[in-house]
């Protein structure tokens, strides 16, 4: 049992981790074929995992409906939406479930007019959330916050025509802030991230860290 839960996953990690690393340096067609094959297997795993995901989603909302938990009506909407969308996918604009998915019809209409519109609504809320978060951050309580406030004002003004209208130096300063201090910080973070990614990969490939298998090491 220990072999199946510990040793085998570790062997898989080691073999596929090393394969992925080697493939990065090998441009030969054979290496590309191995890479494509692994990607294909990954897609297969995802296809089966989606059933698990769907089961989890539906069982979670079913228990909410059954126990009349707070907001259970939203769970009912999940079931209705799932049923309606599945029905339209099977109907496939009159072509049936075995034809390739039609680009018109009720399924596409529901997707564009309900799902895309809802997502866009969520995304548009960001503007308000940014405003409230910025208000909290830009209160100049400390010297660091004061620097942030001044920089933010310059960047905001420099990005719109009124900045150049007030003074030519504002867009120039904005450009300097973005391409020098901002870029330096960004690259510093990226260097640290790359090293962290190498360290994490090594820990996992060589079996030093096994917490992804559950529990400790």
């Amino acid at each position: 049992m220990l072999f199946l839960t510990r040793t085998l996953p570790f062997l898989f990690c080691f073999v596929f981790g090393m394969t992925g690393w080697v493939i990065y340096y090998v441009p030969h067609e054979w290496a590309q074929t191995v890479e494509r094959e692994i990607a294909l297997w990954l897609r297969l795993v995802y296809a089966f995992a989606y059933f698990l995901g769907l089961f989890s989603l539906l069982s979670l909302h079913w228990s909410k409906i059954r126990q009349r938990q707070a907001g259970w009506a939203y769970s009912l909407i999940v079931y209705i939406s799932f049923g309606v969308m599945t029905l339209f996918v099977v109907y496939n604009d009159g072509n049936g479930p075995f034809a390739s998915q039609a680009t018109t019809g009720p399924y596409q209409w529901m997707f564009t007019s309900v799902h895309v519109a809802s997502s866009a609504t969520m995304f548009s809320m960001l503007a308000f959330f940014i405003s409230s978060a910025a208000y909290r951050t830009f209160r100049a309580r400390t010297p660091e916050a004061a620097i942030l406030l001044v920089s933010a004002i310059i960047v905001m003004l420099g990005r719109v025509p009124i900045g150049a209208y007030i003074a030519d130096i504002i867009p120039d300063t904005m450009q300097w802030l973005m391409s020098v201090p901002n870029m330096a910080a960004k690259r510093g973070i990226l260097l640290g991230v790359s090293l962290g990614a190498i360290a994490t990969s090594l820990r996992i490939i060589f079996g030093i860290e096994r917490s992804y298998l559950g529990g400790g090491d």
Partner: protein
């Protein structure tokens, strides 16, 4: 060896004059380096401006033809534009380069791809005001390459940094190493303790990326440590997922963590659940959980996109203690603004090792820091050299 031999045999100095048009010097044809195969590269010395109106490359499978047009251009590229293949030699500005991967078959628009292992005969044609001059016939064989030589620097740097990290892991087994304090991780126990005292749950979110991405692997590792603590404290843990594979892995990780803490009875399979598969549907679902269930602590680890601020701003209005960690530098400002503690960049990768306090895992953190110091040293040296016009170090570490 065969590649070098092919290179040498195919290097032909063509000095051929036909119909009054002069061909360029130093024409070479060879297998394209660092590729998967099916391609030849032709280089020749750069012509003076106006000397040629265009260039044509003809290909045949036999030395006596028939030669078919492979490509024709009036503006061939320069070797200096492809440092990945030709390096940073100052002379590269003086040579044109063309890559050939197929040729016209003569049947209308049909083209035939070059096949690995087949020897092709190539001629360069130069169109001038006086007509077309054809160079001598040269041959080369396309082959797939087993090593991308433009990635030497990456390989050496990767091996060097890996060696440093593994060295410190080995050292950590023998002696205690000093590891700098990470405030966000020190606060984790405080957050979980607060949730326990309040009798409320802990919400864990691990970003939008899939299980094949390193930030998600790091997040799942952290989840394992968090789950051990929630099992120990008997606190309810909720894990909202956007990816079915991540969900399956997370279920196993949490289950094993509870088992290891001797609390398999406390594990509820529906505590690790699928919230949605789309970005904003997921954001809406998690925001709903934050507002309705009011968890005492929100732990957000992994790679986030625009949903980061939606989640944390909603979370901050509920009064929950929020700890976030991401290597997505575009989302870091949002987390810093709205969360109580933020793990920045590599701290996300350090978290699992830091929380475990295992000497060999802590050794990798020390190795990371030493690697960073080495890179800083190289950056400073490169900056000084580049300031004085010496680009050797810059070119040595350039991504090609």
């Amino acid at each position: 060896m065969s590649k070098i031999a092919s290179w040498i045999t195919c290097t032909v100095m063509a000095l051929h004059v036909a119909a009054g048009a002069a061909l360029p010097l130093a024409i070479e044809v060879y297998d394209t380096p660092n590729d998967a195969g099916g391609s030849l590269t032709l280089t020749w010395s750069r012509a003076e401006a106006g000397a040629a109106s265009s260039y044509s490359v003809y290909v045949a499978t036999a030395a006596d033809g028939p030669f078919r047009l492979a490509t024709a251009t009036a503006t061939p590229g320069l070797k200096s534009a492809e440092p990945g293949l030709f390096g940073y030699d100052d002379d590269n500005d003086g040579f044109h380069v063309l890559h050939i991967s197929d040729y016209a078959t003569g049947n209308g628009e049909e083209r035939e791809s070059l096949k690995d292992g087949t020897t092709y005969f190539v001629r360069l044609g130069v169109q001038t005001a006086d007509g077309e001059a054809l160079g001598v016939t040269m041959s080369a064989t396309p082959r797939g390459n087993w090593f991308n030589t433009s990635k030497w620097n990456n390989l050496i740097l990767g091996i060097g940094l890996s060696f440093v990290i593994l060295l410190y892991i080995s050292m950590a087994r023998r002696k205690d190493l000093f590891i700098r304090r990470i405030a966000g991780l020190e606060a984790l126990d405080e957050a979980l303790g607060r949730a326990t005292e309040m009798g409320k749950s802990v919400l864990f979110v691990h970003g939008l990326k899939g299980m094949d991405q390193i930030p998600t692997i790091a997040a799942v590792n952290i989840l394992g440590r968090v789950a051990q603590r929630t099992a120990r404290f008997d606190t309810d843990l909720r894990v909202a997922n956007v990816d079915p594979v991540v969900m399956s892995v997370s279920q196993e990780v949490v289950k094993e963590a509870y088992l290891q803490e001797g609390r398999p009875d406390a594990y509820r399979p529906d505590s690790v659940f699928m919230a949605a598969t789309e970005q904003f549907s997921y954001a809406a679902a998690v925001e709903g959980i934050m507002v309705r269930e009011r968890p005492a602590a929100h732990i957000m680890m992994g790679y986030f996109y625009a949903e980061s601020l939606l989640l944390t701003e909603t979370g901050s209005t509920t009064g929950a203690i929020q700890i976030a960690g991401t290597d997505s530098y575009t989302q870091l400002p949002f987390f810093v603004t709205t969360c109580d503690y933020t793990l920045m960049g590599e701290e996300l990768y350090a978290a699992s090792a830091y929380l475990s306090r295992e000497p060999k895992l802590l050794g990798s953190l020390k190795g990371q820091d030493v690697g960073k110091a080495l890179i800083i040293g190289l950056l400073v040296a490169g900056t000084i050299l580049a300031t004085f016009g010496v680009d050797t170090l810059t070119h040595l570490f350039a991504a090609l």
